[in-house]
């Protein structure tokens, strides 16, 4: 019989891993297909959480608010694509230039949110749900919701990537952009769809994170390291790898608090990145980039 505290940490770790998974699938697609290491990705998650907060504070049901937040985040990410990323791609800008621009964008989005909503912690207006009790193990109802929704999103993504034409095109572009171009794949359409999926899933992750914890301007920024850790662990550009990586990182972060002080959770993610980079820089699974 494993001890209850450890079991509790495992449950928390799975919930956290699911949220990281939703975001890092998006990040791995932007890395793999758009060749963009987007450091503003965490702030896209925060944006989703705040847009859901906006809808929720106007009296909308939380699920409807999250759905609208997904739409809003996708639209904003498409605006950044039109204004920033598309022109830079046309100029064949190198990856370091893009990384610096993404940091500027991250500062802009995060502080834009503080400018509108202030720097304090906020919460959704949610009906209080008692925690479920499994033989003494407390599971928040919303943690269960997060896990179920992530599973549904993953299945949907799998279907999209494997069965639909656009999904196949996306995988082709991720494998080899030039080859995809000469086979007549409409790369622009792939780019738009990548943003729709990446931003949509990330905003969903933001909304879910807001269900579990307070909505605050730094929530996504502090996830950027676990996200990149998952992406690298899973092989850059491999969405299934990213999901597996996220669960590993989420679990490792939470379970580590059994032995380490809670404050050093972030160091666990960093350590995992460094170890993977030293031992297996291509990731645990096959990547594309």
């Amino acid at each position: 019989m494993i001890d209850l505290q450890l079991a509790q940490l495992i449950v928390n770790g799975i919930a956290l891993g699911c949220i990281i998974a939703l975001a890092s699938v998006g990040l791995t697609l932007t890395c793999g297909i758009l060749r963009l290491s987007n450091f503003a990705h965490g702030d896209l998650l925060t944006l989703g959480a705040y847009l859901a907060l906006l809808g929720n504070s106007m009296g909308l049901n939380i699920w409807l608010a999250i759905a609208l937040a997904i739409v809003g985040t996708v639209l904003i990410s498409l605006v950044t694509e039109k204004l920033i990323w598309a022109p830079m791609r046309d100029r064949r800008a190198d990856s370091t230039t893009l990384i610096i621009i993404s940091i500027g964008l991250a500062l802009f989005i995060r502080n834009g949110l503080i400018f509108i909503w202030g720097g304090g912690n906020q919460t959704y207006d949610l009906p209080v749900q008692p925690a479920l009790d499994f033989w003494g193990l407390k599971v928040k109802t919303y943690s269960l919701v997060v896990v179920v929704l992530t599973a549904i999103a993953t299945v949907g993504l799998h279907f999209l990537l494997q069965k639909t034409k656009i999904g196949k095109a996306m995988r082709a572009v991720a494998d080899d952009t030039d080859l995809a171009l000469v086979t007549g794949i409409n790369v622009n359409r792939v780019v738009i769809w990548t943003w729709v999926i990446a931003a949509g899933l990330t905003a969903l992750g933001g909304g879910m994170y807001g269900l579990l914890e307070a909505v605050r301007p730094n929530m996504g920024w502090f996830l950027i390291l676990p996200m990149f850790a998952s992406v690298i662990l899973g092989g850059i550009g491999n969405p299934y790898g990213a999901i597996a990586g996220s669960l590993i990182v989420g679990l490792a972060q939470e379970v580590s608090t059994y032995w380490l002080p809670t404050e050093y959770k972030l160091a666990v993610a960093l350590l995992m990145v460094i170890v993977v980079l030293l031992i297996r820089p291509q990731g645990l699974f096959k990547g594309t980039a």
Partner: protein, 370 residues
Amino acid sequence: MVGYLTSLITLTSVFALFSLGLNVQWGMTGLINFGHVAFMTVGAYATVLLSSNGVPLVFAVLAGAALASVLGLIVGASTLRLREDYLAIVTIGVSEVVRLVALNEEWLTRGARGVASYPLPLEDLDATWPVRIGAIALWTLIFAYGLKKLWGWTRGWNRAERTADERNKSRPLRRLMVGAATVTTGIILYGVGIAALYGFNFRAGLMLLASTVLVAVYSQLERLGRSPWGRVLKAIREDEEVAKALGKNVFWYKLQSLMLGGAIAGIAGSFYAWQLTFINPDGFIPLMTFQAWTIVVLGGAGNNTGTLLGAAIFWAYTTLTRFGLPAILPLDDARLGAFRIMVIGLILIVVMMLRPQGMLGRKEELTLGR
């Protein structure tokens, strides 16, 4: 007023020094260091803690710089062989972990309560007349050095710029106007410095020390940039494969660059701690790193003079918005602060998109953004 401007000169020097460290790493070598503040944190805490325990200040500063470069060694050894964006990710993480250590290891750093009342340089210096006159003479020397550099720049004397293309584009009138504006600002600051040094106190001494170290580091970096070593770094920045084909040990050069930049940031950290006279982890947030990035990108990657200009513009911007913005926008402090950082983010985006070489960088030299 003089007191405020004295602090402003010190802070500008500290940020210029901090950014010069980043300019070695990013500007000269092309390393994406997103955790530059970690080096500063290590330098600041090492200096303060060692000197509190009786280590002479000079050795405390050197130890801080050495520790900061060891941090560079550790970070670099694990990531510099791999893709460039991995360094960005790892450095962000390292800077956060360093801050977390400073926040939580209370036995060492006193955590969030911070460290105060540590030894400061020139604190109990007896400011006799010869000392004051010497200080003013040194200040004059720094001013003269600045004038000489500016004169050379206005006339386009820098031999490296003497290609036909450069001469056509150098726009002497614009250079003259910018030069005149800089001279005017310089003379005002020079006067402020003299007034401060005349009524000598700790702040004035710190200003003089920080500017002296800044000039020393700047001139050495200029020399290094033109040396074979600096040229290898620039070759690595432009095309690693070329440097490799020439038989250069790219990894080793990158590591040296990361360590040197880290050591400079560590020294900047010592001065930052002395200027603040109280440090806690809140002073070393990731935003510091990105302020340095804005300074380097704005001034022009790889151009040390540009970095100095960027630091001056950054502090002018900070000061003006701190006092000017509340008059225009009736908002609370958090929102005003957020607005100022939004502008910084926007500057980073716009400069990288439209003028990746920054204000003084040389487009011919950079493949950046092409």
